[in-house]
């Protein structure tokens, strides 16, 4: 019996009231979901319509839901960290618990919030913008989602089963080697990211092929909407960066499970090799997540200034320049680790060089707004807010990029403030703008402006309130990852202000949640399919779009094709039914349960490996192989939507449109 108790207390995290409360909440929420689905008899619907779907629009919605949940989880972590730091000598969290929380906060925000939110935007907008019926590999797209989902689930499970990782989001060995970090937490970290990382790599491949091969006739690369260009750049970086992460984590996993000596101190291991491999991925990762945000800004600025974007070609070339230069900067993450003057100089200069194309884009956005008729809708507000935040991030980034000065700033709160300015100001603002922008297209209704404005302003005040003081705290000597501090350092007021700012951002998040719930119930229905008076092809079809997106694949003549059609009067024909003769049966992929099962197999195998239950790992591995084999042998993977059904769908959708146009 005591053996069982020992096992259970090792298996389940015990002794912390916060975690007990979470246990109760998790059980209650799970029960609630199960009971609701059973009561409403929705299991079959869930399986058929969602879990087995290969439709990019539904996959986008699933990514979006997951990302918002993870923003909540990562945000809750942030609030706990800031609560602990609000006052000196605080004992709200223990040192170990604090370590776990900053580790999960960083990991979740980068890998399980930013990445899925970005993939949500990829899936929501790219096929519609290029006039395609789906991505190049819809089935692979579903696999990518389920790998992300189960990797994320595995990582989050560490919270209540086995214990969270506490080696920081960068997880440097030898600290994270078995000898110093014996618990399962680090295994969760490695396997959760490895599994979801495979999905991310596949998404990169998928969207590169989609953009290069699936564009509507007439859409040359120089007529491609800028968001798609940013997705292409981001996908190229994914392709070249994620393998390095896969290798770094796989080797660390081998060290921890098989006893190899890649990054150990004994037997000739070299921990610096992990640091290099990690940042060969980790630095480009910054560009992976920020470039699509740049793409969103380009779309939003152009739409809400009612002008075509300024300097299209320089926008494209600057995106590609960032894509390339982004690789040459990784060593600036360890200027202080003794790389030597010449190496540090090279990486200092290359890092500063990234600022040039970024500056070009910044000015292009400003010139697009110049003499435009700007509409201050939610997407535009977040875009405008991005500009000062990113300017501060850029200026402080150049300060950090100067290697000699970095010896002073390194690992201080200044650094924390800098990258939050960049990642919240650049990435989160962009994704939130993108979410508002494409929400009516995905769901068929808009998000409420009034609640959104509350969220926006609270967020802005909270954001500068939170990170502004941290720049000063960094100069005053406060290091990062410090779980408490004495009262006589002169840091008290600034820390308290920073924590209040964090709380305000938390309240802003609640407003966004309230906005979504309110809008689901009472949001303005989008009957036109074009609520913002948009410029690109996604606005030429009804919202939400039918399964096959375009009844007839459009032929493109201009960069802002939909705008051109509206100006030339061709768009008015849209309300009319597409000429019957032009309709052809549409070739579509069938739904499949295999992607879900692949994800599940990875989860089972991953969970077994976390606890060194290798029998379970083998079961998971066999499951993966069986899924691959089953798919390889499958031939009946697609079907045709008959013309009659297209006609019915279009008539049904167009009734709404005509109604909207005439009222």
């Amino acid at each position: 019996m005591s053996g069982l108790n020992a096992f259970l207390s090792h298996f389940f995290v015990t002794g912390d009231p916060l975690i007990y409360a979470s246990d109760v909440l998790i059980v209650l929420v799970s029960l609630g979901i199960i009971v609701t689905l059973t009561y409403l008899k929705k299991w079959k619907w869930l399986w058929r319509e969602w879990l087995t779907t290969v439709d990019h629009k539904r996959i986008a919605i699933m990514y979006l839901i997951a990302a918002i949940l993870m923003l909540f989880r990562g945000g809750a972590d942030a609030e706990l960290l800031r609560t602990q730091l609000a006052v000196p000598n605080n004992s709200f969290l223990t040192a170990e618990h604090y370590d776990q929380i900053f580790t999960t906060h960083g990991t979740i925000m980068i890998l399980f919030m930013a990445m899925p939110m970005m993939f949500a935007l990829f899936n929501a907008a790219v096929p519609l913008q290029i006039g395609a019926r789906d991505v190049a590999f819809p089935y692979l797209n579903a696999i990518s989602f389920w790998l992300f989902f189960f990797g994320c689930l595995l990582f989050n499970l560490s919270f209540v089963i086995g214990g969270s990782p506490d080696g920081g989001w960068t997880s440097y060995p030898p600290l994270t080697e078995l000898g110093f970090s014996p618990g399962p937490g680090e295994n969760y970290y490695i396997l959760g990211i490895l599994i979801s990382g495979l999905g991310s790599t596949a998404t990169g491949i998928n969207f590169m092929a989609t953009i290069l091969k699936m564009r509507a006739p007439g859409m040359t690369l120089m007529k491609l909407p800028l968001f798609c260009w940013s997705v292409l750049s981001s996908s190229i970086i994914i392709l070249f960066a994620f393998p390095a992460l896969t290798v770094a984590l796989a080797l660390l996993l081998l060290d921890r499970t098989m006893g190899t000596d890649f990054f150990t101190i004994l037997h000739g291991g070299n921990p610096m090799q992990f640091v290099n491999l990690f940042w060969v991925w980790g630095h480009p990762e910054v560009y992976i997540v920020v470039l699509p945000a740049f793409g969103v800004y380009s779309e939003v600025v152009s739409t809400f200034s009612r002008k075509t974007v300024f300097g299209y070609k320089s926008m494209v070339f600057s995106l590609l320049a960032i894509t390339v230069i982004g690789y040459l900067t990784w060593a600036h993450h360890f200027f202080t680790m003794g790389a030597g003057a010449s190496v540090n100089t090279f990486f200092a200069i290359s890092t500063m060089c990234v600022g040039i194309p970024t500056g070009v884009k910044m000015f292009n956005w400003l010139f697009t707004m110049f003499r435009g008729r700007i509409q201050f809708k939610l997407p535009m507000l977040w875009t405008l807010a991005f500009i000062p935040a990113f300017a501060i991030a850029g200026a402080t980034g150049i300060m950090l990029a100067a290697a000699p000065a970095d010896y002073q700033f390194h690992n201080s709160q200044f650094l924390v403030a800098h990258f939050h300015m960049a990642l919240i100001g650049g990435v989160v603002f962009g994704y939130v703008a993108g979410m508002y922008y494409w929400w009516p297209k995905l769901f068929g209704f808009s998000l409420d402006e009034r609640l959104g404005r509350w969220a926006f302003w609270l967020w802005q005040i909270g954001f500068y309130g939170c990170f502004g003081p941290q720049f000063a705290l960094g100069f005053m000597g406060m290091t990062r990852r410090m779980y408490t501090y004495p009262a006589n350092m002169g840091w008290n007021t600034l820390n308290l202000v920073s924590t209040c700012g964090a709380y305000l951002m938390g309240v802003a998040f609640l407003f966004i949640g309230a906005q979504i719930v309110y809008s689901i119930l009472k949001g303005k229905r989008d009957v036109t399919g074009d609520p913002w008076d948009g410029r690109t092809l996604e606005w030429s079809i009804p919202s939400p779009p039918p399964l096959y997106n375009f009844a007839v694949i459009p032929t493109v003549q201009a960069r802002d094709e939909w705008w051109r059609r509206k100006q030339s009067g061709e768009a008015a024909q849209r309300a009319a039914f597409p000429a019957e003769a032009s309709l052809q049966p549409i070739h579509m992929p069938r739904n499949s349960s295999i992607p879900f099962l692949v994800g599940l197999s990875f989860f089972v195998g991953g969970f077994g490996t976390v606890f060194h239950w290798y029998g379970m790992s083998i079961v998971g591995g066999v499951g993966i192989l069986l899924c691959l084999l089953a798919r390889s042998l499958q031939e009946n993977v697609d079907y045709y939507v008959p013309v009659d059904e297209i006609k019915r769908t279009e008539i049904h959708l167009r009734e709404g449109v005509t109604h909207g146009l005439h009222v």
């Binding site: 290798v247 291991g269 070299n270």
Partner: protein, 207 residues
């Protein structure tokens, strides 16, 4: 999807795409090239790690102590030959010769199994004399790099068996022609990686 059976290319039909490129296959093939790029980077990272750890033997066995010249030369010949037979299988399939395609594919599978068998026996021999992946960073790098290649070859063999079965039971068809072409690309890719392993790991190890 139509079930048209592939006919041998007629004299005049030079502009017709190869069977694997019809039926939207060119998108899949492009996607597969992208996948190979990611796989190439996996190997590049493993090579970089190996090269850095090559001299970190911690007083344990070095490359020249454990590498058997006859063994790795034989492995090289077998793998290069299998790449050739794999190419012949694709060639036969393009000419619509199902039996020839199956024979060459079968030969490729057997050569692949011989390669993996030799590699496993090499690993067992190394482990028996105390050269295990746990002994030193050099050996960790060696077993991981070469083992990753071996695991890829084994996956390739399983994949080829599946393609073999499909062409054998279901006949020649553009979709299956594409599958054979893709597994062929994968196989040639592994061959190229092996050339680097041969050079960087074995040749530089015994010199």
């Amino acid at each position: 999807m139509s079930k048209a059976v592939l006919t041998p290319k007629q004299g005049g039909a030079v502009h017709e795409p190869a069977p694997e490129y019809s039926h939207g296959g060119d998108v899949s093939i492009l996607g597969f090239w992208f996948f190979l790029a990611t796989d190439l980077l996996i190997f590049a990272c493993l090579f970089a790690t190996f090269v850095i750890l090559r001299t970190h033997t911690d007083g344990g066995p070095t490359g020249s102590a454990i590498f058997d010249v006859n063994g790795f030369v034989a492995e090289t010949f077998i793998l290069l030959t299998s790449s050739f037979t794999c190419g012949l299988a694709t060639f036969a399939l393009r000419k619509g010769k199902r039996k020839a395609a199956l024979s060459w594919l079968g030969a490729t599978i057997l050569l692949g199994i011989a390669f993996v068998g030799l590699e496993i026996s090499e690993f067992i021999h190394d482990a028996a004399i105390g050269a295990t992946a746990q002994r030193s960073a050099f050996l960790s790098g060696f077993f991981t790099l070469v083992g990753t290649h071996g695991a890829h070859v084994s996956m390739g063999i399983l994949w080829m068996c599946s393609v073999f079965y499909q062409i054998w039971r279901r006949g020649i068809h553009p979709v299956r022609a594409r599958k054979l072409f893709l597994v062929g690309l994968y196989w040639h890719f592994l061959d190229i990686v092996w050339v680097f392993i041969f050079t960087v790991v074995y040749m530089m190890g015994v010199v």
